[in-house]
Every structure is written in C-alpha cells, then in structure tokens.
C-alpha cells in the first residue's frame, strides 16, 4: 500500500502548526519522521490517524482520496497508530486491551476470552516478551505498557504502522526486539513511519528520513547518505555537540547514603552514597528496580528494611511532602501518568512543587512563579503560546520540559531525575545536560536515572548499574563506556 499526504495545512487557533507538508510512504519501507519538539510530527500523524482534522490538504491511499473523521476509520483502512502517550485502559487486563474495539466473539456472541488470551500469548512469544496476558494494565510499569501498545499495533494486521516515539521508556534489549519485529513486518510489505529523537535508532532501522522544522518539510533523503550529526543539524538548524561533557568537579560532603535498603519486591540490599556536587548515574534494564528504589528515597514507595541517611543523619520518610521539606526532589518518569496534571495550565504545572515554598500565609505568589517560569521557558526553549494555555496544547517534548521545570526552582539538596530527557529533541537535550551540570556546580547532589547508556556516559561522574533489583557493578568517569554498562546491565561482570 502507498500512502500520500499532500499539502497538509493545520493550525490550532492562530498557531500555524503545519504549513504545506507533503509526504509519501510505500509498503515495505521504514521512514523516519524527525524534528524538534513542537515541529508538528505528532500533529501530522494525528491527521493521518484520524485523531484530528486538517484545515486543507488531502490524503491518498493507493491513489484513492480518503477522509478520516475518526481513528476507527483510519484503522479500518489499514493504518495502525502507536501514540506518543500511553493509551491503555488501566482497569482492563492486558489481553482485553490488546483487542480493544475489535474484541473476538464466539458463536453465541460472547467474548471469546480463551482465544484472545491465546493470541496475545502468541504475539508476546514472537516478541520475546515475558508477560502474563491476564495481568491488569494498572499493575504494569510504563515500559511494559509501551511494549503492550507496540504488540497491539503489530497484531492488527495493518498495512501501515505509525510509531510515535515508541521507544522512550524502553531499554536496549527491548528496543532490539522491537526492531527485529519491525524488520519482519517490513518483509511482509508493511510500511512504517517511525518518530524518534534517538538518532542512532533512526540510523539503525530506517532507510528514509523526513525532517520537519516549524511545520515545514526541510529535508528528506536516504539514511545511508547521512550521519547522526547531519540529521541533528537538519532538525535544529545548527551543529549539535556530541562530545563527553566535563566540568570542574568540586565534591562536597555526603548528602545521601543508603544502607542495605530492601523493598518487598523491586530491589534488595542496596547500599550507595552520593556527595554534594556529584552526578550519579543509575542505569539498567527493564525491571531493574531503580525507579522504585529512588521513589522510596522520595517517600512514594515503602521500604521493608534498611536505612536512609540524609547529610549523615538517619531519616524516616513517610510522605513525599516530608521528602520535599527535607530537600529531596524527584522528577518521575512517564510524564502522562506521573507528571502532567491535565486540568491545570502550563504555568501551574511548572510551579506546583514550589507553591508552598514561596507562598505567604498560604497564598500563592503568582508574580514570582511567573517570573521564574519566564526564565525557564528561555533556558529550556519551551515552545508554547500563553503560560495560561492548557498543558494539553504542548507537544510531548515540551510537556517534559515543563515537568522538569517544576523541580529546577525547588532548590533541593538532592535532586533525583528519572528519565529526564524522555522525548526531548537533540538540541534541548544538550540544554538540559547543561542545566544538570550547573546544578552540580551549585553543590546539589544529582542522581540521574536513565535507560540510555550514552546519556549516562556523557554527563555522570560515576554510574551504578542495576540488574534485577541489585547493584551489579559500578563504572566511573575515566573508564566509563557504553559497552561495560551494557555488560553489567545484562547480568555480566567486569573483569
């Protein structure tokens, strides 16, 4: 099947998001769609997926003009869509989510549970996913949810699959599996549009690329003819640095120490320490327990045994409010569920953490918050309209920047950043790295949890690698490399 989108124009209010974009995709082809945060990638795909309507332009399938008013119409035409934000129903089990809207029925019109479970198991087997189809989606970690979404799209027998940043919360081995699945689909003649900010993924899996900037198509061509640096330049319009970042290290006193911290299920026997002015990386694969570990430090998860010391004093933290009072900050991963509050505007989302800190007698100091946020918008290059607009009006990457912003002004002693650059474009990523380095310079102890080995290598002084809930090993700046990290993360040892 061949999809063609011709001269697509779309605005939200007075904001022109797509200015005359055309795109063509053939079956059996994987095409990368890349561009800065807010460039219009998701919007373009939402139009193809029937999620939103274009102002003008046309879509052709195999030369026939089509109109999609609803997502269902697009799906029926053979286009499956994996959205940027997770779209599963928490209160249903995995297998029912897999068949949402096209449930299998048996002869008497009842739901055919057995077959749905069986077919789900089959796909999981193909994808090499170790997951019980009967488990509730609510109980899944964000990465597993993403995998379920990908599997769902895979089993729809679509001829075109749109993947909007499908790998943001996945780690190396899962990404590899997704890629091998994509290659298989490609052989079968399925066309895939792949959106990602991780350019090495683009290099690995795509053969063609299309670059959007400010709603215009600025470059397209064959991936084999370019390097990641070229792609980065096309996206942001200038050369993006790639070297390892260094700074004058000036380590202060110990800020956090954990002694034999153990959780009911997620991790056990964790001992570590972080000093002021240090950037500690923690990485590992899916199910390594790093998020739960630091959520415990932040008072959002309970612990079974072990001790937490803050500035050499043993503390017990029962709530996140207490942690905040003590100077601990935690930026959660998976922004849609843990970060964004959709009934509040952009400014409110960016300042919720510091309301009580700056308030006078319980009255929020909006003037101060507005001033701080204005500066952050520049620093983080947040692309937005008014600060009182709904948070929903921001692109995914810009939402992530807003979520990050709320912690930057809190001035904690210890700041834990869980997947801080999720869905952020290459240019803004460098800005965030600079900010993290600056925080360390200001004597804040920073812990960066990341699934990207490259990110850890570039900004951390030292990194712990976790494997199934224990610390498998440690690497430090001088000798740190992606290879060693991967080795530890998969359960190996360094000699």
């Amino acid at each position: 099947m061949i999809v063609e989108m011709k001269n697509i124009i779309k605005s939200f209010g007075s904001n022109k998001v797509l200015k005359d974009v055309s795109l063509k995709l053939k079956g059996g082809e994987i095409c990368a769609l890349i561009g800065e945060n807010g460039a219009g990638k998701s919007t373009l795909m939402n139009i193809l997926g029937g999620v939103c309507k274009m102002d003008s332009g046309a879509i052709y399938l195999d030369g026939k003009k089509v109109d999609f008013d609803t997502p269902a119409q697009s799906l029926n035409a053979g286009i499956a869509f994996i959205h940027q934000e997770l779209n599963l129903i928490n209160d249903l089990p995995v297998y029912e989510n897999m068949f949402l809207g096209r449930e299998l029925k048996n002869k008497r019109g009842r739901l055919d549970l057995e077959r749905m479970i069986y077919e789900t198991e089959e796909v999981f087997k193909q994808m090499n996913v170790d997951l019980d189809p009967k488990i509730m989606v609510r109980d899944l970690d964000a990465s597993y949810k993403q995998i379920v979404e990908i599997c769902r799209a895979m089993m729809m027998n679509a001829s075109i699959i749109i993947m909007d940043e499908p790998t943001t919360s996945l780690t190396e081995p899962e990404i590899k599996r997704v890629f091998s699945m994509m290659r298989m689909l490609k052989e079968r003649g399925v066309g895939i549009i792949f959106i990602s900010h991780k350019l090495n993924e683009v290099m690995e899996i795509c053969e063609r690329y299309i670059v959007l900037r400010d709603g215009c198509l600025v470059a397209e061509g064959n991936v084999s003819e370019v390097t990641t640096d070229d792609l980065a330049r096309f996206m942001v319009g200038y050369d993006v640095r790639t070297e390892r970042l260094s700074r004058d290290k000036n380590l202060g006193n110990e800020v956090l120490r954990l002694e034999k911290l153990t959780h009911e299920t997620a991790y056990r026997d964790i001992s570590l320490s972080v000093r002021a002015g240090e950037i500690l990386g923690v990485t590992g694969l899916l199910g390594d327990g790093r998020s739960e570990l630091f959520q415990s430090v932040f008072g959002a998860e309970s612990i079974l045994s072990g001790k937490i010391f803050l500035e050499r004093e043993e503390i017990r933290i029962n709530s996140t409010t207490q942690a905040l009072d003590k100077g601990i900050g935690y930026l959660p991963r998976n922004r849609k569920e843990n970060g964004i509050i959709k009934d509040m505007n952009i400014l409110e989302n960016a300042s919720i953490v510091t309301w009580p800190l700056f308030a006078k007698r319980g009255v929020i100091d909006w003037i101060r918050h507005r001033k701080i946020f204005k500066k952050q918008v520049k620093e983080l290059r947040i692309k937005m309209g008014k600060s009182t607009d709904s948070i929903d009006s921001l692109s995914g990457g810009n939402q992530q920047k807003v979520v990050l912003a709320k912690w930057l002004s809190a001035n904690p002693k210890l700041l834990i950043l869980d997947n801080p650059t999720q869905g952020v474009d290459v240019g803004a990523k460098e800005d965030i790295y600079d900010i993290i380095l600056n925080l360390a310079k200001e004597n804040i102890a920073v812990v960066v949890l990341s699934s990207e080995a490259q990110e850890v290598v570039r900004i951390c002084d030292r990194a712990l690698v976790m494997y199934h809930g224990v610390i498998q090993g440690e690497v430090s700046k001088e000798t740190m490399n992606e290879h060693d990290i991967m080795r530890l993360a998969t359960g190996g040892k360094l000699d």
Binding site: S319, T320, E337, I340, I341, I352, V353
Partner: protein
C-alpha cells in the same frame, strides 16, 4: 496578517460555539440569563407600572436568594469535595446533628444546657456558634480521616456517616424540642432597611472567600491537582491526605454555618427530615455549574450560577403552579440537560 483576517471572518455563532464548548462557566451564565429573562416575563413585566413591577421583582429575588442561602453555602463546599475527586452524602445529617447541639446549648427552656449554667444572651450564642462550627469541623475531619487513612471510598464513608449522624440525633432528641430564644433569630432575620438580607450577605461573603481560596491559595489549587491526577500531585510533593481531609473539614464548617443560618431563620428543626436531600441539591448545583464528577474541574462562580439556575427554576415552577410532586422531576431534568449541554468529558 492572515490571522487577523481569519479572526474577522469568524462569525459570532462560531465564537459563541467555541466559548460554549471551552468554558463551562460561559454556558452556565447564558442558561442563567435565559432563565432570568423567562422569569421576568412570567412576573408580568409591564412598562406602565414599572415601579410596582420592580418592587415585586425585587421581593421575589430576595426571597429566592434567602431561601437558598443555606444550601447555596453547602454547595460551595460540595464543589471543593467533588473537585478533589470525592463526594459527601453526609451533609444533611451533619447539619441536623449540629443543629441539635446548637439548639440544646441555647435552649431557653428548663433543659437548656447553657441556660442551666447561667449563661444566656449573646455570650451563650457565641459559645453555641463556636461549638457548632467546631463540631462541624470535627465531624468533617473525622470523615476525611476515614477516607484517607481508612482508605474507604468517599461514597461509602459518607453514606455511613449520613446514617449514623441522623440516627443518633433522632435517638437523643426523642421527645425533646428545644426552644430557640427570639434574639437568636436576629442572626438571619435582622432587617436592613425593609429587607431581611443577612443570609444573602453570609452567602455572598463566603462565596467570595472561597472563590479567593480556590483561585489563589496553595490549598485551593492543590485540591484541583489532587482531583485531576492524584499520583502526579503526590509526586510533586503535595500532601494528598492532608488536602483531601481538609476538603471535608471545610465542608463540615460550611455545613455548620448553613445550619446556624437555617436554625435562626426558622427557629426550629425537624430532626427526622431537616436537611434530607441537601446532598443531592448541593451536588446538583455543583454539577449544573460545570463541576466534573470525575474530579479536577469546577469553579465556585459556576456553582453559584448553578444554584441560582435551580432556585429560579423552582421559583418559576412555583409561579406556573406546577404541583409540588412534579417539581422534583423538573429538577432532575435540569441537571441532566445542563450536563448534556456542557463540554463532554473525555472517557
């Protein structure tokens, strides 16, 4: 350039439609306006005798506002509760319990508690009011703790509280009918000029304070955060339990204030029936005013409008002479229609 051109081209109808969909407050205000116009017509607007028309119009309005002040205050608290993602079915019973306590305290018959201690008049009233408000705060906080610490769903917790408070009050007040001193009635019936405006003033002042609380204070905004995305709020350092408990405490205090107004307006209380149906009226006002039952969305001004829509509608049905039993059906109809007209919630 193109932008401004585009704006000019947009018709009034489109603008109206956009606002209607985007702003629950806008649609509520329009509906209220329409209903008031209708009411004005029904009252027989007559240009020749505009003076007498106006005085009867004004009287009618003062009556409407005064009669609804108590429930109006309760609906404001209900707005906070619903925005936080909860519900409070116990408001009517709480009101009766508080009413009973206040009346026992100020009773000037032989069994009056304060009177027997030699305290009468203003000091007695002040003590009774403080204790009544304190009791409301306590009962509300108790419900809040039950919900947050006990992890009982708000519907169940307040349903339980509703039964308990009502039954206890009825049991202990059997055969005892306190008499409220005449001076106490001044709280609601004090006349400004020719009009008894006090309940309306209380309502307006409280509405203004709560409007400020919801827009400007940390608590008010945190309520929205908690109702919209509890997990994200928690991970932003919001003390979710404290916020949720606080919402029910506030509800308790407001119920107490509404009860004081009610007792002083009427001078007596039927412990078996008083306050029953308050919860539904309060929820209806909030919902008609654009508060979302799934939490996170709602405004104080909207609820005031919602309350007025229901009140004026009631008044209209009265003027039309619709039989009382049928009126409830109309009330139900308004609630359903109002929500139908409003912005659809995303599933």
């Amino acid at each position: 350039m193109n932008d401004t051109k585009g704006k000019n081209k947009r018709s009034f109808f489109e603008w109206f439609q956009d606002r209607w969909i985007a702003e629950p407050l806008f649609s509520t205000a329009i509906v209220l306006l329409l209903i008031i116009v209708l009411q004005t017509i029904v009252l027989g607007f007559d240009y020749d005798s505009i003076g007498s028309w106006f005085s009867s119009w004004l009287n009618n309005w003062i009556n409407i506002l005064r009669n609804n002040a108590g429930i109006g205050i309760i609906s404001l608290g209900m707005t906070f509760v619903i925005i936080s993602g909860g519900i409070d079915l116990a408001v009517g019973s709480t009101s009766v319990a508080i009413g009973a306590v206040i009346m026992m305290l100020i009773d000037n018959g032989p069994k009056g508690i304060l009177a027997n201690m030699g305290i009468t008049g203003l000091p007695a009233f002040i003590i009774a009011i403080i204790l009544g408000v304190g009791l409301g705060y306590g009962l509300g906080t108790g419900i809040g703790i039950l919900i947050t610490k006990g992890k009982i769903p708000p519907f169940i917790a307040t349903l339980g509280a509703m039964k308990i408070f009502r039954s206890l009050t009825q049991h202990f007040m059997q055969g005892y009918n306190p008499t409220v001193p005449r001076e106490f009635l001044q709280i609601a019936n004090f006349k400004i000029g020719k009009f008894m405006l006090m309940p309306i003033i209380y309502w307006a002042v409280i509405a203004y304070i709560l409007y400020y609380v919801s827009k400007r204070t940390v608590f008010g905004r945190q309520v929205i955060a908690v109702g919209s995305n509890e997990k994200a709020a928690k991970l932003s350092g919001v003390n979710v339990e404290k916020v949720k408990t606080g919402v029910y405490s506030l509800m308790g205090v407001l119920v107490a204030i509404a009860t004081i107004i009610q007792v002083s307006r009427i001078g007596s209380m039927d412990f078996a029936n008083a306050g029953s149906g308050y919860e539904m009226d309060a929820i209806a006002a909030a919902v008609v005013g654009g508060t979302s039952m799934s939490g996170g969305r709602g405004t104080i001004l909207g609820t005031v409008f919602g309350m007025l829509i229901i009140a004026v509608m009631n008044n209209l049905l009265n003027l039309f002479g619709v039989p009382p039993f049928l009126r409830e059906a109309f009330k139900g109809l308004i609630v359903v229609c109002a929500v139908l007209l409003q912005k659809k919630e995303k599933a």
